[in-house]
């Protein structure tokens, strides 16, 4: 429950505000930039909620804007922060991009939306597809006067009736991203697969869909024999269209989808996975005037798959210069703006292994006093020493592997029935694995 919502520029100047409860003076917002900068002095990142003189400030940042909610009550913080994110989502759909300019250009529509999306501080309809049916930027285009869509108060609050397509199609994208944290000696400290099934749904009427996956728990509960591999999802989250009780009972994923693009579900697996692209790195310092990196990268997946657009980003000291590289594949360049060298490999075949050697000059010999001494040699990983931008950054690895999922998840079927219209329809499925946040900690400098 929010008392008021503000859109501010990065200097903290209010661009637009909506007061929902009138229990907080709107001037309280003037304190926000002051409090923010005070807190920033203490730490490099200010938490998303803080309180001052009985008023609570909850905010998120988006592009060159702050979205801020004020409240006096001990309110559901998750609700408010998520609502702010929803505002970003809806406004982005409306204005293509949400930034300072789009606020200034759209005062009237924004007020209308804010009036519809929140009442007395309580979030209401936040489905942009439904809002677009009765709040538009060019209302004179509506031939008849707008009415509240039934969906606003209906059990199916995300889809309107009367949608028609000539060709009925559904596109499924199974996208998995891999998060890895690898220690300097090559131990996988944390690995996690975050998957999502995204849909593009172009179906007429009120179709009833059922999605079948090779879900281990489902096979077990239904007593069906497993053909091929089944996967064990640690946790699953569904779009609000999915009947959760039904899933809880017999693991059936059944739903009436929203129209167009949406994320049907996301899932998480904690299974220990080996890094798909394994990176080993040795760092050697030569009497403090040169630093040398030796990298080995190996693709640990089957020969028939290929990783595309592989990027291995190795942090180097801020003041390194005169780089020299040697590699048997791809290209290497020095990116001084991010104090890193970037090794790019367009296509990286399964089971292949490549090497790269980089040597950079360091402008000055560093003394112990200057850079914290032991920290540089003992821990730093990079020679930047503590406090420098180069301190302790890990190696990052980026890639994409099409037609492949790390977890082995498979769409077994997607059944589409529309009882009234009974049209034929075509589901399409694609799989892709992407690097998520992959960090390999740099070893100590030898």
């Amino acid at each position: 429950m929010a008392s008021a919502i503000f859109f501010l520029d990065l200097k903290g100047k209010t661009l637009l505000a909506r007061n929902y409860r009138g229990d907080i003076p709107m001037s309280a917002v003037e304190k926000f930039p002051v409090l923010l900068s005070e807190a920033e002095e203490e730490s490099s990142a200010v938490p998303p909620c803080f309180s001052h003189e009985g008023i609570n400030y909850l905010y998120i940042r988006h592009n060159n804007l702050y979205l801020l909610a004020l409240t006096k009550r001990n309110t559901n913080a998750a609700g408010i922060l998520l609502f702010l994110h929803k505002v970003v989502e809806v406004f982005t759909e409306y204005f293509k991009a949400l930034e300072e300019e789009s606020i200034r250009d759209n005062f009237v529509v924004i007020y209308e939306l804010l009036d519809e999306m929140m009442d007395f501080g309580y979030p209401q309809t936040t489905e942009s597809k439904i809002l677009q049916e009765y709040i538009t930027q060019e209302s004179h285009k509506l031939e008849i006067q707008a009415r509240p869509p039934i969906a606003v108060t209906n059990a199916v609050s995300w889809r309107s009736e009367g949608i028609r397509y000539r060709k009925n199609e559904v596109f499924l994208d199974v996208v998995e991203s891999l998060n890895l944290l690898v220690s300097a000696n090559g131990n996988v400290l944390r690995s996690e697969i975050l998957g999502a099934i995204k849909m593009k749904c172009y179906l007429s009427g009120m179709p009833e869909l059922r999605l079948g996956l090779n879900d281990k728990v489902m096979f077990e509960t239904t007593g069906r024999s497993t053909r091929g591999k089944a996967i064990e999802m640690e946790d699953v989250k569904f779009h609000q269209c999915v009947r959760l009780s039904r899933f809880e009972n017999d693991r059936t994923i059944s739903f009436i989808p929203p129209d167009g693009e949406f994320e049907l579900m996301s899932y998480r697996l904690n299974t220990q996975v080996k890094p798909l692209i394994w990176v080993e790195c040795l760092v050697e310092s030569h009497s403090g005037s040169r630093i040398e990196y030796m990298l080995k990268a190996r693709a640990q997946f089957k020969r028939r798959s290929t990783a595309n657009n592989v990027e291995i980003i190795v942090p180097v000291p801020d003041d390194a210069d005169s780089p020299r590289f040697r590699t048997n594949v791809g290209s290497v360049h020095y990116a001084p703006e991010q104090s890193a060298i970037v090794w790019k490999i367009k296509q990286f075949g399964g089971n292949k292994e490549f090497l790269m050697r980089a040597e950079l000059g360091l402008p000055s010999v560093r003394g112990d006093d200057e850079h914290g001494g032991g920290m540089t040699g003992g821990f730093g990983g990079s020679m930047g020493g503590i406090g420098g931008k180069g301190a302790k950054r890990p190696i990052q690895v980026k890639f994409e592997i099409p037609y492949f999922t790390t977890s082995g998840i498979q769409v077994r079927y997607l059944k589409i029935t529309e009882p009234k219209l009974q049209y034929p329809s075509l589901p399409w499925v694609r799989y892709i694995t992407q690097s998520g946040d992959i960090a390999v900690r740099l070893p100590d400098v030898a």
């Binding site: 730490s43 803080f50 001990n74 998750a78 994110h85 009036d115 609050s157 946790d235 959760l244």
Partner: protein
């Protein structure tokens, strides 16, 4: 298609100077607003003028208020677009010019009879936002009507209206039958309307002592049955309302928990967190330990998944994990690695993760934890690095078999000579000495190498303590102390007190070395200070030393009470209250609700035959804590008892699975089939407050509720007053 006379709008070529002045602008806009006349089809000119007025209003151009009468005139036009802009203007300026605003009342009343529900709801919503007596008085009879509107969109709007009116004028609402009518809206056959009515009632209840919210099992079940048919926000409102249901039987509580558990798979994190809150609450009323374990198992994956969301949600989840870990350690028992920090995590996330890592660290995972902390101790953010170093020291105290490894790591860090690391390490090493006397004194030499880098009072005081305590073992202890004493007068009291005690200790252990220093320090501390604490302590030592050296020795060098690292646990009644507020702001601040939200309605577990007594019994097993760790709170280790109460890891599928799932289905089927009139039994009415009214139910808060609030309370603050977490 006719061309619109658009050029007309931007006609101000007459005199730019004049128009720039504010009066000119108002006049210009007025002219524009009233131009066009019959030729202005679709009111295009008016719309453009109104848009400009809205823009001016947004940019706080308060001259726009002069246009009030003109705006009122525009309200008659039956164009939704124009109405919306006029109403926006009205809400903005009504309180500035109430005498003009009242002219809008008849128009609004008229609009509430419009055939379009969008117009009816808009008029009602607008009217109820205006905190002007005439408006409130006019709205009350209208809302009664609108609560029974044929369209659910209007009824939903009316439900929130009642709460608004209550906010404007509670007596007027209490004298009417509005609350009763809102209550009967719970019988509505539209789930969105029911959820809105609940939200409205809860909003009123939160602010009023005169109102009681009673939800019995039948009501609660009915609410759960419509959950799936509500929007994501509606689900949150229903789940929050379920916190007012007090289970009378253990079976009721577990059945309900099972039935709401599917919400844990919702993609909206707010639904998930609120659901976790309700399940944690219901667990207090469940007797069967197997079911408790099964529920705990269900809570774990969703909580971990929240950590993969954006930083804001992640932070919320982590703060709540700190609570859940203390209340139901089973939920997060085996998951220490999920809290390892990513390089790009914001600092507030990292700091909270660090606290969780500390809490979850044990003998088995200590090596892994120390490797991780070593990594953190070399990061960039000073605040975070300090906490990492402090955590290493506290682990030495918490996990005795790992003390040596922790100390080695601390020394490795001290060798970096980074001043804030050295200072932080000095402070924690002092505590390690206290915990393990006569075991690790060999490292004193290393500490002494870094005396010069100490410039913070806490670190100085710690070092001085070490010198005094081990004066007989440190060869040049007198010289070291003398160095520190050089600046005695300029030191903060904390350091002065430490110096005084250390000098006395030196004298007691090595009288010849100390005999010159003691009288000097005693003289300073008694004659040349304004601080009563310092003076009193100095006099006490003086008397002691001049009376009986042997007693002085046994008092000053006597055995010290042991210290532990467990004192950062919340006091049990605070923990109980916090767990009833999972997902709210108080759990982000980790402060007792009343200390931040003074007017908040206190929440506590309501007694019922099903309430599990072992969680309530507040027999205190306190442990003394030293000042660095605690803020003088009395820590209660409720966690131990919880563990004892759980017999052994149960297999949830065996018992909780089959039967319960069937029961859940039956219950869902039953409650979706019975008529909606069941909801009528749910009542909100005037009368005694079930929640202990005055708010004086003595929860032993750590923080004085009357103390002025700190200027800013970033929830990650270090042991500053009022913080419940002390890492």
């Amino acid at each position: 298609m006719m061309a619109l006379p658009l050029g007309f709008v931007y006609m101000p070529t007459v005199s730019l100077q004049k128009l720039r002045s504010s009066q000119g602008k108002v006049a210009e806009l007025r002219l524009e607003l009233n131009s066009g006349g019959k030729k202005d089809k679709n009111y295009a000119t008016k719309k453009i003028a109104l848009k400009r007025i809205v823009a001016n209003m947004t940019m706080s151009n308060n001259d726009m208020v002069a246009l009030f009468p003109d705006i009122i005139q525009c309200m008659h036009i039956s164009s939704l677009e124009i109405k919306k802009m006029c109403f926006l203007y009205l809400v903005n300026y009504a309180r500035v010019r109430p005498e003009i605003a009242v002219n809008a009342i008849p128009i609004l009343e008229h609009d509430m009879e419009d055939s379009n529900p969008l117009v009816r709801a808009l008029a009602l919503r607008t009217m109820s936002y205006i905190h002007v007596r005439e408006f409130v008085a006019a709205t009350v009879p209208l809302v009664k009507h609108m609560l029974r509107d044929s369209d659910p969109y209007v009824r939903k709007t009316a439900a929130f209206c009642v709460a608004k009116l209550y906010d404007h004028d509670r007596h007027m609402v209490e004298q009417s039958d509005l609350i009763d009518r809102l209550n009967s809206l719970l019988r509505d056959d539209n789930p969105t309307v029911v959820a809105s009515a609940l939200a409205g009632l809860m909003d009123i209840w939160e602010r009023s002592d005169a109102i009681k919210l009673t939800i019995d099992y039948t009501n609660a079940s009915k609410m759960v049955a419509i959950l799936a048919d509500c929007s994501e926000w509606g689900q949150t409102y229903i789940l929050e309302a379920l916190m007012s249901y007090v289970p009378q039987e253990s079976g009721e509580a577990s059945l309900l928990a099972e039935r709401i558990a599917p919400r844990l798979s919702h993609s909206n994190s707010s639904v998930v967190l609120t659901c976790i809150r309700v399940i944690l609450y219901l667990m207090n009323y469940i007797a069967d330990q197997k079911q408790i374990s099964a529920l705990c198992k269900k809570l774990s994956p969703p909580l971990v998944t929240l950590l993969a969301k954006g930083p804001e949600v992640q932070y919320l989840a982590l703060r709540n994990a700190l609570l859940i870990l203390q209340r139901r350690p089973e939920v997060l028992r085996n998951d220490i690695r999920v809290f390892f920090c990513k390089y790009n995590d914001p600092i507030y996330v990292k700091v909270t993760k660090l606290e969780l890592i500390f809490m979850l660290a044990n003998e088995k995972n200590i090596d892994e934890v120390l490797t991780e902390l070593r990594e953190y101790a070399t990061e960039i953010d000073v605040h975070f690095v300090r906490k990492a170093v402090r955590a290493i020291g506290k682990l030495a105290i918490k996990i005795e078999p790992a003390a040596r490894r922790c100390i080695d790591l601390l020394l490795e860090l001290v060798a970096t000579k980074v001043t804030y690391i050295v200072q932080e390490a000095t402070v924690v090493i002092r505590n390690i000495f206290r915990k393990y006397p006569n075991q690790y004194e060999s490292i004193i030499g290393t500490l002494c190498e870094h005396l010069d880098s100490l410039d913070e009072p806490e670190a100085k005081a710690a070092m001085v303590w070490v010198i005094g305590q081990y004066a007989d073992r440190i060869e040049n202890s007198d010289a070291l102390l003398e160095d520190f004493l050089y600046s005695f007068q300029e030191e903060p009291v904390e350091v002065q007190l430490a110096l005084l005690t250390a000098t006395v200790k030196l004298f007691i252990q090595r009288p010849t070395k100390g005999q010159e220093l003691v009288p000097k320090v005693l003289k300073w501390a008694t004659e040349e200070t304004d601080n009563p604490d310092l003076r009193d302590r100095a006099y006490m030592y003086w008397r002691l030393l001049s009376t009986d050296m042997n007693s002085a020795k046994s008092i000053v060098m006597g055995e010290k009470p042991p210290i532990t690292a467990e004192s950062e646990r919340l006091e049990s009644s605070t923990l109980e209250e916090m767990c009833l507020n999972v997902g709210t702001l108080a759990t982000v601040y980790l402060k007792p609700v009343q200390s931040v939200f003074r007017s908040a309605r206190p929440r506590k577990l309501i007694a019922s035959p099903a309430l599990q007594k072992q969680y309530l019994a507040n027999d205190i097993e306190t442990q003394k804590s030293i000042s660095m760790f605690g803020n003088g709170s009395q820590p209660t280790n409720i966690d131990l008892r919880t563990r004892n109460a759980v017999p052994s890891p149960a297999s949830p599928a065996a018992n909780g699975g089959g039967n319960l799932a069937q029961a859940v289905n039956d219950a869902d089927a039953y409650f979706s089939s019975i008529g909606t009139q069941q909801m009528a039994a749910m009542r909100i009415d005037g009368g005694d407050d079930g929640f202990g009214g005055g708010g004086l139910n003595g929860t032993g808060y750590v923080v004085n509720a009357l103390a002025p609030q700190a200027v800013l309370q970033p929830a990650h603050g270090e042991g500053s007053n009022g913080d419940l977490l002390v890492l």
